[in-house]
Amino acid sequence: MDRLEVLKKEWQTRDQKFPKLSYSDIYPMLLKKSSSIVKWIIIISLLEILFWTLLAFIIPESSNEFYDELGLKGVLRWVNGFNYLVVAFFIYLFYRNYKKIQVTNSIKILMENILQTRKTVHYFVFYNIGMAIALLVGINIYYYYHQEKLIDLLNGQDTYGAIPAETVINKFFIYNFIAGIMIIGFLMLFYFLLYGLLLRRLKRNYRELKKIEV
């Protein structure tokens, strides 16, 4: 008989030395809180959705007035309406995916469902960053073609004071550009670190499982 088969028999018949937990040892365990990866992913995902949804609300009133005077109010209202629809759709998708995560699924399906839930939130974040870039570019293009109005408005503010019009415009565009790049760079770094750490093991195991199927 094959050595491995012998060992398999031995594995099953021999008792291994394990702690023997009694009923009263196990019972308190039911009341403890889980620290599973799914719990962390859900918490972080909800925070992300909340963050991006709230961000639309906390744009200061002064900047809204600024847009009003430039004649952008109507367009921005449409953009906002569209945004709410998208947020609602993502929350629905997220909830549907979350419900699919069942510990009684096969190992592969469980992994796929977790990764899928994560992916939904990723798309949500991509959408928001994309939207932010599109808005930034769109508004700046609009500014570019309505420079006179912009200079009038900016001259009313102290910060740009008595600088010649040409410089004001240059400065304005450069500031806008740098701020945009910095925010996006920061976000990318944050995501890279957070999910790199959280999903590393899951992704490695998923690759291992996929390799069996080639």
């Binding site: 060992l7 021999r14 990866i37 592969k108």
Partner: protein
């Protein structure tokens, strides 16, 4: 009016009865779960030992598996054996869900790897080889480990495949490859 009041009382009684029923139901569920887990705890211990390296982590993983089993227990319909159902949940927890936690778990110390001798005669070669095999399995990846574990537990390929979510053919091919590796470890 009297009838109305009587009805009200009946309803109230029904309400308290339902609450009481629910409570006893939960108690029964808890009792049934804990006794079955107590009986089958060695399956969980084996998985913990394969997937962790010290007794603290072992106990922490045992705790997490218990939580996940308990959370899933209401959906266990009893159409398969409790132990069969356990394999899947426990492996899913060990492989995918588990994250080391800082939670305090009561620790019972136990020796590293040791098999109690059940046969009359002491066969040191088998004992050594079992240890050797255990060490070899521990160096495998998380998925391969699950495959070997289910094989050692005498699960057939159909069950192994459905637990992992792969086809039977793929499970067989992969297992044969791992067997080859283990044989070279056992017969250098």
């Amino acid at each position: 009016m009297v009838i109305f009041r009587q009805n009200c009382n009946k309803l109230r009684l029904l309400g308290t009865n339902q609450a009481a029923n629910k409570k006893t139901l939960t108690k029964e569920l808890e009792h049934s779960f804990v006794s079955q887990l107590e009986e089958n705890q060695n399956i969980v211990h084996k998985i913990c030992r394969l997937y962790t390296n010290d007794s603290d982590a072992h106990n922490d993983l045992f705790q997490e598996i218990t939580i996940q089993l308990w959370k899933a227990f209401p959906k266990f319909r009893g159409d398969s054996k409790f132990s069969t159902w356990m394999y899947r949940v426990a492996l899913n927890t060990a492989i995918t869900l588990y994250r080391k936690s800082k939670r305090k778990v009561q620790t019972q110390d136990f020796e590293a790897i040791s098999f109690k001798i059940s046969s009359e005669e002491y066969d040191s070669t088998v004992e050594d080889q079992l240890k050797l095999m255990y060490e070899a399995v521990k160096t495998l990846g998380d998925i391969d480990k699950a495959l070997v574990f289910l094989y050692l537990e005498n699960k057939n390929y159909k069950e192994i495949a459905s637990t992992l979510g792969i086809t039977e053919v793929n499970a067989r091919v992969k297992m044969n490859r791992i067997k080859g590796k283990l044989r070279t470890v056992l017969n250098p």
